[in-house]
Structures are given as C-alpha cells and as structure tokens.
Symmetry: C2
Subunit: 109 residues, 2 copies
C-alpha cells in the first residue's frame, strides 16, 4: 500500500493554508481573482473573454476557486454571477498574514 499525504496529520491551519495556496498556485486563477476583485462581481463570459483559453478551461478554474471557497456563484439566468467570498477571503488573508509574520511577531508555534 502506497502512503498518501492523507495519512499524515497536519494542523487545521496548515491544511487550510495549503488549500488556499493551491487555489492561488496558477497565474490564470490569480488573474481571475484580481479581475473579480476589481469588478466586485462578473459573469463567466466576461472572464472567458480576457483569456486566450477555452471556455471549458476557465469554467474549470472557476470550479476550483469555488471549491477552495474563494469565490461564490449566484444564478442570474441564463448567466451566473461570480463574486469573491468575503468570509473565506478574509480567512485566507489572515492565514497568509499569520504565516509570513510568524518569525517577526509570533515566536511560539
């Protein structure tokens, strides 16, 4: 039996941070989030237009961002309006901030 990462236990914060980092680990997804950020919200089609990528590819990236919790979709038939998920965005912000500041501010880990 091969060992998988699932067999190893990490702190909840560590796993959450890794999850958010994974969502940000592709320039397309960062650009999507920047775009969503600047527009507050927008439709899938708007995002597809700013990339030389297939609609299915963008849809897949959006799905990953949704699964990671960084965005949320709202039905506006026949379109879908995507927005940043503020709660999780703030959580991710806090986790990254905490992570990078640890060596400066928080000495006990």
């Amino acid at each position: 039996m091969k060992r998988t990462t699932k067999d190893i236990f990490y702190k909840d914060e560590t796993e959450k941070l890794a999850k958010y980092a994974k969502a940000l680990a592709h320039p397309t997804r960062i650009k999507i989030l920047n775009y969503l950020d600047s527009k507050s919200c927008c439709f899938t089609g708007d995002i597809v237009e700013i990339f030389p990528l297939a609609q299915s590819t963008i849809s897949q990236h959006l799905k990953e961002l949704k699964i990671a919790g960084l965005i949320q979709g709202e039905l506006k038939p026949p379109k879908i309006k995507y927005c940043i998920n503020d709660d999780n965005w703030k959580e991710a912000q806090r986790l990254f901030k905490n992570f990078f500041n640890k060596n400066i501010i928080d000495e006990n880990e």
Copy 2:
C-alpha cells in the same frame, strides 16, 4: 499544437505570486517552513525526523522550496544547513499582502 500556459502572458507580479503560492500548496512544505521559521535554521535530517516520510521525499520538498526561493542551503559538511531566504520571504509576504488587500486599499489594478 497544444497550447500551454507558457504561451499566455501575465504580469510579473502575478507569476511570482503563483510561484510562491505553488511552493506553499502542500501541507508538508508549510510545516517545513514553519519549522525552519521557529528554529531559524536547521539540517535536512532534523526535518526528516518530524515527518513519517522518506528522506528522499523531504529532500524533494526542500528542493522545491529552494527553487521557489523561499529557503537557502549552506554547506556545513557533512550536513546542509537550511534557512529561510529573508529577501524572498519578504517579497512573498508583500505580494500576498498586496493581493489580499487590493479590494480594500488599492482600487486601481
């Protein structure tokens, strides 16, 4: 010819952020960085001991962190001492901070 992500152009900041995010996209690497952070520096062997993973696996994770620029190794024969790379650490910190604050502070992107 299949298109690859390399054919698409992103802002330098976007690519850097994605690179750092990718380095953080695995809980083992986050835990390694937390450990390095708390100890300032340590040897490969010390890190291997805190994980139920093969030495070669840890070495590979260290390599990725080194390639991403988040850590650096110094020869202390027969060991290798690893430390956080402060300059790049600070750059990553700045990039993430900037990214998450954009919707709050910096409205023009």
